[in-house]
């Protein structure tokens, strides 16, 4: 029990994992630069379906990163929001015949409401306790979806809501074309990235980082730590819900797995491999993990053995992740501390 208390009270907090370039030019232009990088991505990858997956999982990890990387809360239950976004989209289109855009809006709202409920229960527990509580609550959502098979299709997943065109009025895009689909998804992801950049640059963004660095001090400075954490949790859930909604439209099927423990774990893996607490890191992590899967699953069904091993090596030797380490190198080269 001692080590926990020490991390709260010790004068030297755990080594921060954010980029030292936080105030630089790269940071000011981070949203446009990220979108620019994602614009060329489909032409560099072997398949456009893979590129769409990078976008969707990248956005999922970006939402997760707001909570883990910036607020310092290690959640293991974010599949609940991703999966809810996906299921609500599928049900809204398939069962109620809603317009895809309205379905996406509804899905994001539903994920936000669920995040409010799960956050309200879990936010009072700290540190590793928080990870366990969020995991268990996500299992609750998983089993609820499994039982409500009339709505969700149970173990077979949700089917029958294929979206061929997306848009408003005369401006509609044919998303059966893989490249068009990529850019339609990128429009959503780009808007979300711009929003995320605004959130991080706001006073709220500074407060969550203050909480991550030293919760006790942030509290002493007069910030309402609980409400700030809850807000970060809900915002994070909204982004993950959007990622889930796009996932449903991309696949035209929602597997039960989208709510499972492994999907929660994927957010953790991608964020950490890319670089927790960096703006573009989650996309780098999603790209790295999905390319690894794509390459290895040609050779062996056991590619997750490599994934686990790589992840362990990252925790041991490269805890800042690929992008975080690259940013730190860049800063050293420029002669900044």
């Amino acid at each position: 029990m001692q080590p926990l208390d020490q991390t709260v009270l010790a004068t030297a907090p755990p080594a921060p994992r954010r980029s030292p370039l936080a105030e630089g030019a790269l940071s000011r232009w981070r949203a446009p630069l990220s979108i620019l990088a994602l614009l060329v991505l489909p032409f560099l990858l072997p398949s456009q379906a893979l590129a769409v997956n990078v976008l969707i999982y990248g956005l999922y990890a970006v939402g997760y990163n707001l909570l883990y990387g910036y607020t310092g809360l290690l959640s293991f239950g974010h599949a609940a929001f991703f999966g809810t976004g996906a299921y609500v989209t599928g049900i809204a289109i398939g069962t109620f015949g809603l317009h895809p855009l309205a379905a996406i809006g509804l899905a994001v709202a539903a994920a936000g409401v669920l995040a409010l409920a799960i956050g309200a229960v879990s936010i009072r527990s700290r540190g590793i306790y928080f990870a366990m509580v969020t995991l268990a609550l996500a299992q609750l959502v998983y089993y609820a979806a499994l039982q409500a098979s009339g709505w969700t299709g149970g173990e077979n997943g949700l089917r029958g809501f294929t979206v061929a065109r997306i848009g408003l009025g005369p401006v509609a895009f044919d998303i059966l074309n893989p490249l068009t689909k990529y850019f339609v998804v990128l429009a959503f992801v780009g808007a979300a990235m711009a929003m995320m950049s605004r959130i991080l640059a706001s006073p709220f963004g500074s407060v969550i980082e203050a909480i991550r660095e030293n919760e006790t001090r942030a509290r002493a400075c007069g910030f309402d730590v609980e409400r700030t954490k809850l807000l970060a949790f809900v915002l994070s859930g909204l982004f993950c819900g959007l990622a889930g909604a796009l996932f449903a439209i991309h696949l035209s099927i929602v597997p039960l797995d989208s709510l499972a423990y492994n999907t929660s774990g994927m957010a953790v893996v991608m964020t950490l491999v890319g670089g927790a607490g960096t703006f573009f890191g989650p996309f780098v992590g999603a790209l790295a993990v999905l390319v690894l899967e794509d390459a290895l699953s040609l050779w062996t069904p056991h590619w997750q053995l490599a994934l686990g091993t790589v992840f362990i090596l990252f925790v041991l030797f490269l805890p800042r992740g690929l992008w975080g380490t690259a940013l730190a190198r860049l800063a050293t080269m420029r002669g900044r501390p």
């Binding site: 590793i128 306790y129 609750l140 039982q147 499972a260 994934l307």
Partner: protein, 296 residues
């Protein structure tokens, strides 16, 4: 026989099943709590260790044909693996934030699942109840499977052994002191690293023992660990992190809640434990036996 006595019999049966189920939860939660209490880390591979324990049991049973050998050697083999993990993966993380060890064990979970898939295949394996423990016995209110009584007995034995070991021996005294203040213990000349090594191994062996005991009661497959992890966490959160008494009480309670829900509303059985946890969290964020300030 009237309906009243039949119901009573059914309820007694379910209660008993709940205690047997809960006994396995107790093994899991105890291992988690012991490791957390000493090393201050949460083992996210705990569910998968349970799964590996079940497979180790299958492996030993195939080689020796004896359930008793499986019961003894399975946990020992997996516990030895735990010693290696502590020495070469956990120990290098000393001085890093506690999240790092958590993340590492989470990655280890992938390795364990795929390792088992490679060695034993992706399909589930049958694990028959050993012949000498199959059958039922009449306890007055109903017929109970002997194996479940055996499971409860083994867990009770382990609990007594742990209690004697912790409260009545010199090593136990050192372990308890180490959980309170490792620095003072180091100053007094105790090799705390070695202590952590063996406590980690013990926690892992307990989870593996739970796996061997549960194998005849639930299906053995590589994915069972992820399901079990959620259950183990729910029990630990209900009982209060780091509290051994809490692990025991919460494990039994959770088992009874699950099996009683299975009787009254079968479709809610898998949800019951987690809903119970959410309820406990709302009323007592630190868990039933947890100290405030530790987690909440």
């Amino acid at each position: 026989m009237d309906w009243g006595s039949l119901d009573l019999e059914l309820i007694a049966m379910q209660l008993f099943s709940g205690v047997a189920l809960g006994a396995v939860f107790v093994m899991l939660a105890l291992g988690l709590s012991i490791i957390f209490g000493m090393l201050g880390i949460v083992n996210f591979a705990h569910g998968n260790v349970f799964m590996v324990g079940a497979y180790a049991g299958v492996f030993v049973m195939e080689r020796t044909g004896s359930f008793w050998a499986a019961l003894l050697l399975g946990p020992l083999l997996v516990g030895a693996l735990g010693l290696l993990v502590e020495r070469f993966l956990i120990r290098p993380l000393a001085g890093r934030p506690p999240d790092d060890a958590l993340l590492l064990t989470f990655g280890l979970g992938y390795v364990l699942v795929e390792g088992v898939r490679i060695l034993f295949g992706s399909d589930g394996l049958p694990f028959a109840t050993p012949e000498e423990l199959s059958g039922v016995v009449d306890l007055g209110v109903g017929f109970f499977p002997i194996f479940r009584i055996f499971v409860i007995g083994v867990v009770a034995l382990v609990l007594v052994a742990l209690w004697v070991g912790l409260e009545r021996t010199k090593v136990g005294l050192i372990v308890r002191a180490g959980a309170r203040d490792p620095e003072i213990l180091r100053v007094l000349g105790v090799d705390i690293e070695r202590l952590w090594l063996w406590v980690f191994g013990l926690g892992i062996a307990l989870a593996a023992l739970g796996g061997v005991l549960a194998a005849p009661m639930r299906s053995v497959n590589p994915e069972m660990g992820n399901v079990v992890l959620g259950e183990a966490f729910a029990v630990t959160v209900i009982g209060g992190m780091g509290s051994l008494l809490g692990s025991v009480v919460a494990g039994l309670l959770a088992g009874i809640v699950v099996s009683m829900t299975a009787l009254l509303a079968p479709e809610m059985a898998s949800i019951a434990m987690f809903a119970f946890m959410a309820l406990v969290l709302l009323v007592r964020p630190q868990g039933l036996f947890g100290k405030p300030g530790l987690g909440a």
